[in-house]
């Protein structure tokens, strides 16, 4: 039974259905794996007792013929989703001890489908980062290492704990959230599949807010099929989120079989950027060849405002964050640092409770929204956002899906890029544009870099056309046949 954590989510589902093992056995295998891999620091909170109790209930339900679509499958939850009765930190000091009395809609949907929670995964504080190094609970370590070099690497971020846990076989899948690339970039760094659905596909209710016009939840899994399966369980309309889309959730898994014959795949010329490695360009070319061989047609397209996406994002996201994070004031939950007056108490609490990157972004956001600067920065950025969105709409008049790299480089070492915020921001150069336009995107592991690290390719689709995106992602996955395994994998002699 010690190999149950090596199954894909779909394999585990089928094994449970055929009675080859129980959810309790499957869950125990993951708990054992998790306990043997604590050096990765992928979890902030482990919930093994609750997991086993939930697995037991799941086995009973299955016995009664009441199995849901995720019945008995153990998964991890990014510690940005509020979970009733379980510590929820956003990896920030300022949420010390916060135990919600409610459950986020996305996690409630997963539990209704029968899934089992193993624990809460680490992230960049308030999901602000691309390396999971700004967590109050310390950095997460990528299970992958460079060939012949055991220097610890970052898992990407902000959903780095979820990506590391899935890559190291500590969970069958995990939830992530993506504001500018926080699902897709760590998926690329850890050699897994990361899906950011269309804005509005998953409810944001009960997810700790960062930038409300950009935040979306999505699945992180080892295969495209698992991602399709898990997104189906997470998605759906929710009256508690006014931006949640009131439309039916398609059968994403069925879409995998659609194939790409005749599909028009756009190749945005502006994504070929200065300083890109020859290796990454070769991988991208390989991706084009794979999809061509599968029957798709490559079409050059232009997204002229691509270079303005990152600076636009770094106005919009901090502006929204400065507003959303105003709620952490030492009054209703979390940390309080006393002061002589109410204002001093606020300032002391927030000064001590927020880390450097969060403080920096709140200050930038406050600045760009402050009197006299609103038009010059925030309004300007919202206009650029219109242009960026228009670029995509025009491209999608000609093509069905776009193919790009996911991240400009493979994983880097913990400690690198720490002294220059803009160098860190450049990690999201390929993922941010689709976020600004609310489009669905997926990162699929496509190959290994020269020093043996995974790299992903990204597919971007029209709003609410995740089905075409999944069909293309499946074709890419099939051709890439990515089966390399990380050095630090549970049960791999560790």
């Amino acid at each position: 039974m010690n190999e149950l954590n090596r199954l894909t989510m779909a394999q585990a589902r089928d094994g449970l259905a055929q009675g080859e093992f129980t959810s309790v056995e499957l869950t125990q295998a993951h708990i054992t794996a998790l306990e043997s891999s604590r050096e990765l620091n992928s979890f902030v909170t482990e919930t093994p007792e609750q997991a086993l109790a939930a697995a037991k209930d799941s086995d009973v339900r299955r016995g009664k013929g009441e199995a849901g679509s995720m019945e008995g499958l153990p998964i991890a939850i990014k510690d940005l989703f509020c979970t009733e009765g379980v510590l929820t930190t956003a990896s920030s000091h300022i949420l010390d001890g916060f135990t919600p009395h409610y459950e986020s809609t996305v996690t409630a949907n997963l539990w209704r489908a029968g899934a089992v929670m193993l624990g809460k995964t680490n992230l960049d504080e308030f999901a602000m980062g691309s390396a999971t190094v700004s967590s109050y609970y310390g950095p997460t370590v990528n299970p992958w290492q460079r060939q012949g070099d055991d220097k610890p690497l970052v898992p990407g971020g902000s959903s780095g704990g979820s990506a590391a846990a899935v890559a190291a076989r500590l969970a069958l899948g995990a939830t992530g959230t993506d504001t500018g690339g926080s699902i897709r970039q760590p998926a690329s760094f850890c050699g897994i599949v990361g899906v950011k659905p269309t804005y509005g596909r998953c409810s944001r209710w009960g997810i700790v807010a960062f930038a409300s016009s950009l935040d979306q939840a999505g699945p992180m899994t080892r295969t495209v099929r698992d991602g399709a399966m898990m997104l189906g369980a997470m998605a759906g309309h929710d009256a508690k989120d006014s931006t949640s889309a009131d439309r039916p959730v398609p059968d994403f898994e069925a879409a995998l079989e659609k194939g790409v014959k005749g599909l028009k795949v756009g190749i945005p010329e502006e994504y070929q950027m200065e300083g890109m490695s020859a290796e990454l360009l070769a991988l991208w070319d390989q991706g084009k060849e794979w999809l061509t061989a599968a029957g798709a047609e490559m079409v050059p397209v232009s997204l002229p405002h691509t270079k303005y996406a990152l600076p636009t994002y770094y106005i919009v996201a901090p502006a929204e964050a400065s507003s959303n994070l105003a709620r952490y004031d030492g009054v209703r939950y979390g940390l309080r640092v006393e002061g002589g007056t109410l204002q001093e108490m606020y300032e002391n609490t927030r000064g001590e409770g927020f880390g450097d990157e969060v403080t920096r972004r709140i200050l930038i956001g406050t600045y760009v929204l402050s009197a006299g600067y609103y038009d010059a920065y925030y309004l300007k950025a919202q206009k650029l956002r219109t242009l960026i969105s228009r670029d995509f709409r025009e491209a999608f008049a000609k093509v069905d899906v776009l193919l790009t790299p996911t991240a400009p480089s493979p994983a880097f070492a913990i400690g690198e890029k720490m002294d220059d915020p803009i160098a860190m921001y450049l990690n999201d150069v390929f993922t941010v544009p689709a976020s600004l336009a609310g489009l669905p995107g997926v990162s699929v592991p496509a190959g290994l870099s020269g020093d043996g690290l995974p790299e992903g390719l990204q597919l971007i689709a029209r709003p609410f056309d995740e089905e075409t995106m999944f069909a293309a992602a499946r074709a890419l996955e099939e051709a890439a046949d990515f089966n390399a395994e990380p050095a630090l994998m549970a049960g791999a002699g560790s």
Partner: protein, 95 residues
Amino acid sequence: MPLDKATVARIATLARIRVPEGELEGLAAEMEKIIGWVEQLDEVNTDEVPPMASVVDVDLPWRADKVSDGDCRDKVLANAPDKAEGFFAVPKVIE
């Protein structure tokens, strides 16, 4: 517009974040670099471009104006660092 120490101190007060005096200089330099970098947006003429109001093309839904939740005072207060008599407790505001 230079982003100097005094500006950062003013912004920090607006944002209610205590920033130690010794960190203001460094923060000002970092913020100035970031603001300088985002100012490349000025290259684009946006005179005729409307600002984006909603990222997806949907109308906000309407609902009846009636209470649908509540009666859970103790749950709301459960995580409060300080509370008294069924209220959140804060330092005295009025002398």
